[in-house]
């Protein structure tokens, strides 16, 4: 897939992050966004890591944390194994965003939104390349009642900092900012849902009958 095709795939999602209606976008805005996308691609160094693990091992990774979550057990019910993904666009993306924010805030917003959409896209591609067979949708610590602190435990347990350069930051955040740690349960198909989302009651997308996982 060439850059233009990738851009066309992720642009609607990036528009959603910017609260821009992709249908109303004019040529000028589209060109500006594509230019920002070029800057983004110059700075992206995507890295991915995945590890298969038994659900039992995942639950035992820190029982104090995993036992707090009913959603984790709910989504993984019936699954024997789980695959853990760690993906990142790399630190250069953050650094260039900082530079843009200092001298062109408008472009910085477009760039940041495209970066978020690109990470999702690249993680999807990474997941697809594994041909996992039947599996649940990808979900992450912080989703529903799954403790976000699990990010820290997983980073250490799977040597993620060492392997692909995702680091812990304060308050269970991760750096580079465009990074994520996600799970899929193996062996059954479960589609994404808003049911357990923290923004269920005040989601601006739902008000417009949209879903974050469908754009």
């Amino acid at each position: 897939m060439n850059d233009k095709e990738i851009f066309n795939r992720i642009f609607p999602t990036a528009c959603r992050y910017m609260r821009v209606d992709p249908i109303k976008v004019d040529v000028e805005f589209n060109d500006k966004a594509f230019e920002a996308f070029g800057m983004l691609m110059d700075n992206v160094r995507f890295k991915g890591q995945h590890e298969f693990m038994s659900v039992k091992n995942l639950m035992g990774i820190d029982t104090e944390l995993t036992s707090q979550s009913s959603d984790l057990s709910f989504y993984l019910e019936g699954c024997k194994d789980v695959v853990i993904f760690a993906t990142t666009l790399g630190v250069n993306v953050d650094a260039f965003s900082k530079k843009l924010q200092a001298n062109d805030m408008s472009r910085a917003v477009i760039y940041d939104s495209l970066a978020s959409a690109l990470l999702e896209f690249m993680t999807d591609e990474y997941e697809e390349s594994l041909n996992l067979g039947a599996h649940t949708f990808r979900f992450a610590p912080g989703y529903g009642d799954i403790p976000i602190q699990l990010n820290y435990i997983i980073i250490d347990a799977l040597s993620i900092s060492k392997k692909i350069g995702i680091y812990k930051a304060s308050n269970n955040m991760m750096l580079p900012q465009k990074s994520m740690i996600t799970f899929c349960g193996m062996g059954k198909e479960v589609a994404p849902t808003c049911a357990h989302c923290i923004r269920l009651k005040n989601c601006s997308l739902r008000k417009d009958n949209l879903r974050c996982y469908n754009s």
Binding site: M18, R19, R45, D62, A95, K99, V109, N171
Partner: protein
């Protein structure tokens, strides 16, 4: 004893520790360092197996044993480190190898990125490393920092080791297939910085197998003067039956090393997936003696990602980060408003500067403290090396310590006291030093300049600095006052170049006091480059000077194929410029300059034409009163943009673009007020403690400023106390707090509670992705605003 063998006899490290522990039942998520106490016999056995295989070094099982990473462990980290060293010692005693094997204290990355990319401070990182070293410094033979991906973190570690232990220091970073570390450092930069810090050996480990690491290994061998250590993985990991395994056998591993095996590698071991069998086969195949390498010395400075050689073609040093004669910059420095410096830095890099001079010297300012703040801020947004410019040795040291890379220090001169203060700093932190050809007397002749340069070289040598650690400034004097001496400067440049030294000049000093200064500047620059000048210190935004360099590079056959020249010049429209003398005889005007066109200020704001607004505002101010322009054009234009945004006609990026354009127009209009215009606010903005996401807060800032609000931006990850202190200091009309994460909303609540406890009686506004009206009420905020525009509307409603 290590020092006697290092670089002469091939020495062997051990292989993977994690691989061995997992093979012995270490479960996922378990802490390997706890085994130093829980299962010492297992650790001793692993060490013994490596010693039996032929290892000279035992790496302690302490890779992650910093207090930060070990916060979940059941033992204090220093207890685990002491136990690890004891285990290593026991292993070598068990095999009678006390006298011919070495204990290497293993130190891995902390696991958190350092500020400004991350949140961990350089000083905190230093303390974490220091703790790891001090507790066993007398019981080890060397320290090895390995698997580092961040050069800055590695610098903190090396300084902690140098300042607290006298054992040899080995460093080893990990590189990916693009030959960059995780934070973007290339091998040349790594070498330049670590050689400056005077480590004992430099290496590469982990990430890749020997074949994939070959380009990095070759660069280390070809460009570094230090003994080279390599510890590759056993190839690339692959998944087999759901388990990660490494693809290489000991035989294929050694086969993959055959291109570099005889090229001067001083130490070899293994990383992930390697076992005692790998070490055994290395020992059988590597030569006993280390091949000598002849690596030329270069003059080079580095940021964390870029190395600039100052001994080849002309490299521009940007001069604009210097408050001398710049009132706005002086005011910005005094008010600690560093935005202007940041913008200037970015503009200079974008214009082609390859090094940036940083000078913050002003009477009454704590130069060292400002350097400590501003250097990381600049390095966050520019990728080129910085030139630390100060006459204050404490400020130079403060800047060099926090600098990420190998700095250029500006400067010493021929005075002993100055050199004695600055050279030790350059030695400690590995800086290149500019030596100004000036002493007690201002030199007139070429010979006097050269004599001072020679004195500087001699004195530098006493500190262990070579000619390649120096750049000589041949001193530009003002041609209007000392006309004959311009030629002496040029002559001195030639002599200095012939001596094998790199050179610099502050070019624009030449024309001081003369009309049409740019003409003198570019003529002098051309002559100086022809005489050997390597680093002109100029304003890179002055296109005429940069064009001279492009032309010079073509004529001197540096820009082969004229590629750079064509790239920079192909779109230049050549105009016949009519130079007319003004009545006063000062300066010239360009008759070809065009009119502003038909666009007006309101149109520019609506369309976000930031690059055009200044010229158009200036033109409009010639016929319109400043206040009228604000009230009848700028504010209505902004209001229309705001309404269009609210109604969905335009979107966030366009709103911001319009806001930024209006801000530029405001700045221009303000120059025309006889008394300072009344600004609204001030309003304090920050992202709360623990939260590093600041793009939302920055959007709010731009939009508020466009409406004339004075914003005091405290930044991101702002401690509760700092917000309270700022409230007391600035007496704001409102305080805006931002948080992106649910986890940091708690800190927002604490910040609000602390403000209330300090009798804060101004509105506290909150915003951010996870905030809602309900949460705002829960945490005792006064208002929640959904986006930047609604915040501005709220401020208007509140009559702030």
């Amino acid at each position: 004893m290590i020092k006697d063998l290092l670089g002469k006899k091939t020495l062997f490290f051990d292989g993977g520790m994690g691989t061995q522990l997992q093979a012995n039942g270490l479960s996922v998520g378990a802490i390997p360092e706890e085994l130093n106490i829980d299962r010492p016999e297992l650790i001793v056995m692993i060490h013994e197996n490596y010693l039996k295989a032929g290892a000279d070094f035992i790496t302690t099982n302490t890779f992650g044993a910093n207090a930060h990473k070990m916060s979940r462990a059941k033992y204090p980290n220093t207890d685990m480190i002491k136990a690890a060293v004891k285990n290593a010692d026991e292993a070598r005693k068990n095999l009678g190898r006390e006298n011919d094997s070495f204990i290497a204290l293993d130190i891995g990355p902390i696991g958190e990125l350092l500020a400004p990319i991350g949140t961990l401070s350089f000083d905190d990182a230093y303390e974490l490393f220091k703790e790891q070293i001090v507790c066993v410094k007398d019981d080890i033979d060397c320290v090895i920092f390995e698997t580092f991906g961040d050069l800055y973190e590695l610098k903190a570690g090396v300084l902690a080791a140098k300042e607290n232990c006298d054992k040899p220091i080995f460093v080893s970073m990990s590189f990916d297939k693009s030959a960059r570390t995780l934070t973007g450092t290339n091998p040349e930069t790594y070498i330049n910085v670590m050689e400056g810090l005077k480590v004992s050996a430099i290496g590469v480990n982990c990430s890749l197998g020997p074949k994939e690491l070959e380009p990095v290994i070759k660069t280390l061998l070809e460009k570094s003067h230090l003994p080279v250590l390599i510890q590759p993985n056993a190839g690339l990991p692959t998944l087999r039956d759901g388990k990660t395994v490494f693809e290489l056998t000991p035989e294929s591993f050694i086969d993959a090393l055959k291109n570099v095996m005889n090229e001067g590698i001083a130490m070899i071991g293994g990383c992930c997936g390697t076992t005692p069998d790998f070490i055994k086969i290395e020992k059988e195949n590597f030569p006993v003696d280390v091949k000598e390498r002849n690596v030329p010395y270069r003059t080079a400075v580095s940021s964390s990602t870029t190395t600039v050689y100052l001994d080849e073609s002309v490299r521009v040093c940007g001069e604009r980060l210097n408050p001398t004669g710049k009132k706005k910059l002086q005011a910005a420095l005094r008010e600690e408003n560093y935005e202007m410096l940041i913008s200037e830095a970015i503009a200079q890099e974008d214009a082609g500067a390859r090094v940036l001079d940083v000078n913050v010297g002003l009477p009454g300012i704590d130069e060292a403290a400002v350097m400590r703040k501003i250097i990381p801020m600049l390095q966050e947004v520019v990728s080129i090396p910085l030139q630390i410019d100060s006459s204050n040795a404490d400020a130079i040291e403060a800047a060099c310590r926090v600098y990420n890379g190998k700095p250029l220090i500006n400067s010493v001169n021929g005075k002993d006291a100055v050199m004695e203060a600055v050279f030790p700093v350059a030695v400690k932190y590995g800086g290149v030093v500019i030596g100004l050809a000036l002493s007690e007397e201002v030199p007139k002749l070429c010979e006097e300049r050269v004599a001072i340069a020679e004195k500087i070289i001699k004195k530098a040598a006493e500190y262990g600095l070579t000619k390649k650690d120096l750049v000589i400034d041949c001193l530009t004097l003002t041609v209007s006052a000392q006309q004959a001496e311009a030629a002496e400067t040029l002559k001195a440049l030639k002599v200095v170049t012939d001596m094998g030294l790199s050179s610099t000049l502050g070019v624009s000093n030449i024309s001081f006091g003369l009309p049409n200064r740019p003409l003198i500047n570019r003529t002098f620059l051309t002559l100086a480059m022809h005489s050997g000048l390597k680093m002109p210190i100029i304003n890179p935004l002055d296109r005429s000077l940069m064009d001279c360099i492009d032309a010079f590079n073509v004529i001197s056959n540096v820009d082969v194929g004229c590629e750079q020249y064509i790239k920079n010049q192909e779109n230049v429209v050549v105009q016949t410029v009519t130079v007319t003398k003004s009545a006063s005889g000062e300066g010239a005007t360009n008759a070809a300059s065009g009119a502003a066109g038909t666009k007006d200020v309101g149109f520019c704001i609506a369309k976000g034409l930031k690059d055009e607004i200044t010229e158009i505002t200036v033109a409009e101010l010639e016929k319109t009163d400043a206040m009228v322009l604000i009230n009848e054009t700028i504010i209505p234009a902004l209001n229309k943009v705001g309404r269009d945004y609210d109604s969905g006609k335009i979107f966030l990026p366009q709103l911001i673009q319009a806001a930024e354009t209006a801000k530029v127009a405001f700045a221009e209009v303000q120059k025309h007020f006889t008394v300072s215009s009344e600004k609204k606010g001030p309003v304090i903005l920050c992202t709360v403690e623990g939260d590093i996401h600041d793009i939302g807060k920055n959007i709010v800032k731009v939009v508020c400023e466009s409406y004339g609000y004075e914003i005091i931006d405290l930044g991101k990850d702002v401690p509760v106390d700092s917000v309270v202190d700022a409230y007391k200091e600035y007496h704001p009309k409102a305080i805006g707090l931002s948080a992106l994460m649910t986890t940091t909303v708690e800190n927002m609540k604490r910040t609000i509670a602390a403000l209330r406890a300090n009798n804060c009686d101004v509105p506290i506004l909150v915003g951010g992705a996870v905030l809602t009206d309900e949460i705002a009420k829960e945490i005792n905020a006064d208002y929640f605003t959904e986006d930047a525009m609604s915040l501005v509307n709220l401020l208007k409603e509140l009559k702030i």
